[in-house]
């Protein structure tokens, strides 16, 4: 059972007096704890894993993870799905969660950047919610610690759904058919904001990428993917070092990196002001159902998977905050093509999502 991080990502009124840009920091006295002289020791690294060992790292889980304080119930997931698709959760009655996280676009919106209240463009691309059940931290900049917290964020944001929670509760209480659904999901409890969050999060956790050709290959079907894709898998895990961050069955470790995109958006740096490596850093997205999820990157600035690979091959803008993992790769034309072939094996044939009838 997953335990959520106990440190609020937003609790960052940090007064950091000195920040080391490299590992070779000099002695520095901060206001409180003291960071001493860093030294370098020899650390023996394990040899590169065999292909078989690498494959084991990508085996999909057999269960969906739900937190202890919000376990799955069918009633909760059903209610959450209705809320997720209900435009009445926005002040103007025109946007639902599904407006920006639509099943038709891999639970994104297919746009470079999201569209918010009064059709105004938002600052970042709408991230997919596929496999959110396995996330450790949420939003591109990690400002939501839990999926429940995330669910209420865009509803209240004035630039997104612009719906204060007190008004939302009043509106939902005025829709008679919602009452028995809330009662079934949260017996004996009046309609409340935390119930809305828990129901939406429960539904979102049920949205899991389907079994892809890659999964069949991982399970031993050698004919499930092409030889090109197999070579691409090796490049992904070795020369290109994609797996340093896009690791595990969902192809992300949820880590934050500046990948050298030419954007003024400082991402996680807004919350970790003194941390150089958090500047321009955004959460590593998973790669499942990747073909349905373009355009790519946090700002939607890269149109195709091929262009994504070109970006990483070049390394982007060199600046102090850029991740040390981002370096020019010198991939060959064949290696790039193989990577694309591999990434497309992460697409599955998911059943169409049935949009629910909504309470009146």
């Amino acid at each position: 059972m997953r335990m959520f991080m106990s440190v609020p990502a937003q609790a960052v009124a940090v007064i950091v007096l000195v920040v080391a840009a490299t590992g070779h920091s000099s002695s520095m006295a901060l206001a409180q704890a003291v960071v001493g002289q860093a030294t370098v020791v020899n650390v023996v690294q394990a040899p590169t894993a065999s292909l078989e060992k690498m494959r084991d790292e990508y085996r999909r889980p057999k269960t969906i993870t739900f937190p202890k304080d919000n376990p799955y119930t069918a009633a909760k997931a059903s209610l959450g799905k209705k809320l997720y698709f209900d435009t009445r959760l926005s002040a103007a009655n025109v946007q639902s969660c599904a407006s920006c996280h639509s099943p038709g676009f891999g639970f994104g919106d297919g746009l470079p950047k999201g569209v918010g209240n009064e059709m105004k463009a938002l600052g970042r691309r709408s991230p997919t919610i596929i496999n959110a059940a396995y996330g450790q931290i949420f939003m591109w900049d990690g400002r939501a610690e839990t999926l429940e917290e995330q669910a209420l964020g865009p509803i209240q944001a004035d630039v997104e759904m612009n719906m204060p929670l007190d008004k939302l509760l009043k509106r939902l209480n005025g829709i008679p058919e919602y009452k028995p659904l809330f009662e079934a999901a949260f017996p004996g409890k009046a309609i409340a904001a935390d119930s809305i969050a828990k129901a939406i999060a429960t539904y979102e956790r049920t949205i899991v990428s389907g079994i892809a050709p890659f999964d069949a290959w991982i399970e031993g079907n050698e004919k499930a993917i092409s030889e090109d894709a197999k070579r691409g898998f090796t490049v992904f895990n070795t020369k290109a070092q994609c797996s340093a961050c896009h690791s595990g069955w969902n192809f992300t470790d949820d880590s934050f990196h500046d990948i050298g995109l030419p954007s003024d958006d400082i991402g996680r740096g807004k919350f970790l002001k003194g941390v150089i490596k958090a500047q321009h850093a955004f959460k590593t997205p998973g790669l499942r159902e990747i073909s349905a999820r373009g355009p790519y990157m946090h700002d939607g600035s890269v149109a195709t998977i091929e262009d994504v690979i070109e970006h990483y091959d070049h390394g982007g803008i060199s600046r102090e905050s850029r991740s040390d993992a981002i370096v020019p790769l010198k991939l060959t034309k064949q290696e790039k093509a193989d990577l694309v072939a591999f990434l497309k094996t992460l697409d599955s044939d998911v059943d169409p999502t049935v949009v629910p009838n909504l309470p009146r």
């Binding site: 409180q32 704890a33 003291v34 030294t39 690294q45 949820d254 880590s255 941390v275 040390d324």
Partner: protein, 107 residues
């Protein structure tokens, strides 16, 4: 055994000052996790954060009274951190959310 080897390595590279730190006050970071979810130290007693992983890590805290930030620690870097206030200090890696632990600082 791993921590003993580390203590010896530190003694060789960094000298007696660091090596004098008890080996069990070392936190490793291999595999994007801290080697312990919790450690107890006395106020003024350093904890060594060793990046024995093969990627850059960060170690920091925003806990009031014990804020710190080691910056970007490359593989092989060991950084001592001395806590000045008693209490529970929540420590994270700003890069990898899978890395989180509590340092319990006692008087």
């Amino acid at each position: 055994m791993k921590t003993l080897k580390f203590a010896m390595a530190v003694a060789f590279v960094a000298g007696a000052a660091v090596a004098a730190v008890a080996a069990d006050k070392t936190i490793n970071q291999k595999g994007k996790v801290f080697s312990q979810t919790e450690i107890t130290v006395k106020k003024g007693e350093p904890v060594n954060f060793l990046n024995d992983d093969n990627i850059v890590h960060n170690v920091m805290s925003t806990t009031t009274g014990n804020e710190f930030n080691v910056g970007a620690a490359k593989p092989g870097t060991v950084t001592p951190v001395t806590f000045k206030a008693a209490g529970d200090v929540r420590v994270i890696c700003a890069i990898h959310p899978s890395m989180k632990m509590v340092v319990k600082v006692t008087d």
